[in-house]
């Protein structure tokens, strides 16, 4: 039993550095303030709620014209 525990501990110890490596945050280097801000801007998502709110606030666009008479006629023939 003891040996098993020992083995387990050893394998856990072996795994630990790899796990630690995975969870460690990456080091980023920026040559200027602007570069840092650009990185921040790229990683700042626009809340989808804005588009939803805009879609509700704006008037609906006028319906699209149905197209030329011959296209409507063909569509009618097919159905």
């Amino acid at each position: 039993m003891k040996r098993q525990t020992k083995n387990q501990t050893a394998s856990e110890t072996r795994q630990t550095p790899a796990l630690r490596q995975e969870t460690q945050p990456a080091v980023l280097e920026f040559n200027s303030v602007e570069e840092l801000l650009r990185h921040d801007a790229i990683h700042t998502p626009v809340p989808p709620a804005i588009e939803h709110r805009l879609a509700r606030a704006l008037p609906a666009p006028p319906p699209q014209p149905a197209g030329p008479w011959w296209r409507r006629w063909f569509r009618g023939k097919r159905s």
Binding site: P25, A26, V27, L28, E29, F30, N31, S32, V33, E34, L36, L37, R38, D40, A41, H43, T44, V46, P47, A49, I50, E51, H52, R53, L54, A55, R56, A57, L58, A60, P61
Partner: protein, 186 residues
């Protein structure tokens, strides 16, 4: 349950239109400017919506003398300035004393090495909040690669040379403040 054909279902996304294209192309830049200039995600969300509503109503006034991005930025800056002004009446916003940064030994030319963590955005906001609104705006506009110094000058009402001069001090002030917000990776 009776049907109500007179009530339209709320639309979840903008329908295909030139305005929808405008929103999709520029909403990230406009939201980011509002977020970091105002320093408040909720107010930035409201401001972005208001900016695009204004843009929608004024679209026929756009004469193509500037780019769409610059035109939208102008609306955003005016809107955010009005908001900041009204808050300023209620809260005292401290400005940055240039003399303080002139005497601060800050190597603003050396690269900024940071850990990619979720707190990075918070650190950036904290540093920007410590700047005057003028410096904050300059840094945010210059960071947008689509804008030239001339356009930044036009948006902030000054010459390109004045932009360059102030930018140097703004960078220095930001770097000093940013380094105070957390440990830098050696």
């Amino acid at each position: 349950m009776a049907e109500r054909p007179d009530v339209e279902e709320p639309r979840a996304t903008l329908e295909a239109s030139p305005f929808a294209d405008l929103y999709r192309e520029h909403s990230r830049a406009i939201y980011y400017l509002a977020l970091r200039y105002l320093g408040d995600p909720e107010r930035a969300e409201d401001a972005t919506q208001d900016v695009f509503l204004k843009a929608f109503r004024k679209m026929d006034q756009f004469r193509g003398e500037s780019s769409w991005r610059t035109w939208l930025y102008r609306i955003t800056i005016n809107h955010c300035r009005n908001l900041l002004q009204s808050w300023h009446d209620r809260h005292v916003v401290s400005g940055v004393d240039d003399a303080l940064w002139e005497t601060t030994p800050s190597a603003s030319d050396s690269p900024l090495r940071v850990l990619e963590t979720r707190e990075l955005g918070e650190r950036i906001q904290e540093a920007l909040d410590g700047l005057s609104p003028e410096y904050r705006l300059l840094l945010l506009l210059v960071a947008d690669e689509e804008l030239t110094y001339e356009e930044v000058g036009a948006l902030t009402g000054q010459s390109p040379d004045a932009v360059r001069g102030k930018l140097h001090r703004a960078r220095k002030a930001f770097t000093a403040l940013f380094r105070k917000t957390g440990d830098e990776v050696p």
